[in-house]
């Protein structure tokens, strides 16, 4: 029987496993991308001289600056209405980030609260709440979005309402699971014996321990909500025109894919990079906060 080398590197692909860990465990790349986007969101209007909804039909369909026919006046070209793509892209960033942050804040707060109550109260309350959560989660959101769009008019606020409605149950389920485990701990029993009110116990003892897991979920949710919002806008049931959402920009460009491919490619790429970075960041946070949760 041959003696294999004892160094361990070749024996079971350990070298490659380490590479994967290093690659996706450096927060550098996603943080960089997200920083660029955040920067653009905050300072964007000072960088570009054009309003995102101001268009000049004489300037329509100018390609991005690195292609033939492009100019440095419109770095990423213009669309059908002659509107500057870069400005619209920046507005899109603002929309994506603001919608997702607002949605996640509202849904997160509501969902966590409900989860704490459900987990701590237990019994019938818990069963009822979880039943609702389970059936809610099981349902295709798109149907809800459609219903809303046809009954009310689609708007910035209606989009947020729809997204919050889609997303809150995840928090409830997660927090309730954790709360169930934590409430069995001794320090909770001690607090109860000491006469603390349930509200106080939930806030002071259970919530801080649930927080790391919630934060991980929040990060992934931001990515998911950005994806959902762009999906809704793409289909025309999200943020209404003329406001530039990355999703609606991608939709606008679809018909011109044969010749003016950048109209769809660029906003779509923006969505992809943002979602990817947020997901990578979420993975990194999860590894730091709670190695138990690693699925991969």
């Amino acid at each position: 029987m041959k003696q294999p080398p004892l160094s361990g590197k070749k024996v079971f692909g350990r070298g490659r496993e380490t590479l994967w860990r290093r690659l996706h465990l450096i927060p550098g790349i996603p943080v960089f991308i997200l920083a660029v986007i955040a920067f653009a969101t905050i300072f964007g209007s000072y960088i570009t001289p054009y309003g995102p909804n101001v268009g000049n039909l004489y300037n329509q369909f100018i390609p991005p600056c690195w292609m033939e026919g492009g100019s440095t006046e419109h770095l990423l070209g213009t669309d059908y209405f002659g509107r500057d793509m870069l400005s619209r892209l920046i507005v899109g960033a603002r929309i994506s980030l603001s919608v997702s942050l607002i949605t996640v804040s509202i849904a997160g707060t509501l969902g966590t609260l409900l989860g704490l109550i459900s987990g701590y109260a237990g019994g019938k309350t818990d069963t009822v709440i979880m039943r609702v959560v389970d059936s809610w989660l099981a349902f295709p959101i798109i149907l809800l979005a459609i219903l809303f769009a046809v009954v009310f008019r689609a708007s910035y606020s209606s989009v947020i309402i729809i997204l919050v409605l889609c997303v809150w149950p995840r928090y409830t389920r997660l927090v309730r699971g954790e709360a169930l485990a934590i409430k069995e701990q001794d320090y909770v029993a001690l607090a109860r014996v000491a006469g603390a009110s349930p509200f106080r116990i939930m806030l002071k003892h259970i919530f801080p321990n649930v927080l790391p897991t919630v934060l991980v979920l929040v990060t992934f949710q931001i990515a998911e909500v950005i994806m959902l919002e762009s999906l809704l806008s793409f289909l025309g049931v999200g943020i209404p025109p003329p406001t530039a959402s990355w999703g609606s920009m991608t939709a606008d460009g679809r018909d011109y894919i044969a010749t003016l491919w950048w109209l769809s490619a660029i906003p779509g790429l923006a969505i992809f990079l943002t979602v990817l970075s947020t997901n990578l960041l979420g993975d990194w946070i999860r590894d730091r906060l709670d190695p138990k949760l690693r699925v991969v």
Partner: protein, 323 residues
Amino acid sequence: MGRRLLEVQDLKTYFFTKRGVVKAVDGVSFSLDEQQAVGLVGESGCGKSITGLSILRLEPKPAGKIVGGKVLFEGEDLLQKSQAEMRRIRGRKISIIMQDPNISLNPAYTIGNQISEVIRLHQKIRGRAVLEEVIDSLKRVRIPAAETRVNDYPHQMSGGMRQRVSGAMALSCHPSLLIADEPTTALDVTTQAQYLELLKVVQQETKVAMIFITHDLGIVASMCDKICVMYMGKVVESGEVNDIWNNPRHPYTIALMKSIPQSDRKVERLYSVAGMVPSHFDLPQGCTFHPRCDRAINHCRQEYPHEVDLGSGHFVSCWTVQE
């Protein structure tokens, strides 16, 4: 007792982990004749289970690797065989019963399905005959109402029953060697005794040779003809069961004996071996037991003891033991 069935020579199985190399089995040798039973005894982590798995070439991959030695079964070295050849031996010539039947039986299939799987694989019978064989094997391990239990799932049976099913599965193709890896550890005390009784009866009926892996010296005394005491991957003492029981020579064996609570003696405190099992990544120099040994001399710190032959098959690896 018959001819030599199994001869393990200097078996070495190492685990290659990120933190270093664990020498789980580090030069283990013993032999077994037909119809004999040998006990591998030691604390958790001493490598006895891995030894059993290594004989079947089932060391846990990808970290585990058999790096040296020979395992001669019926004269042929199992370590040189191909995977295909090994598959013809597993389940048919050598079988294993694992420790926890809750996880060693597949929860998704009936016990009948799992037992017939082995029978159909290794024997040329089909159809109705297979079912009869399955029922026979269940009866062999004294499972009542075998005909109806065939369609039960593992979770519908008690722990003791499940372990009997494991036994039935292992013996269904009439192997010549049975490896029992801590078969009673996961059972409660009463069931343990029943199961050991069963194994004894089965052993006499089927004349199968056994390797009995356990941490319990008491069990070994009643079930086995030979004992190998293991510590940190090496065999520190081996011999006939009576020799070891009446005349243990290695300090570790003596300590193990002393820690068995005796029902007829009242003691202030139960004896336990001094010190703690060392980390696998940081083994002591020389004799691995010396930090916990009350007889350690200078030489023990420098070199691992050579094996000493005390006659009639009794071997010890200790510097303080002379012939």
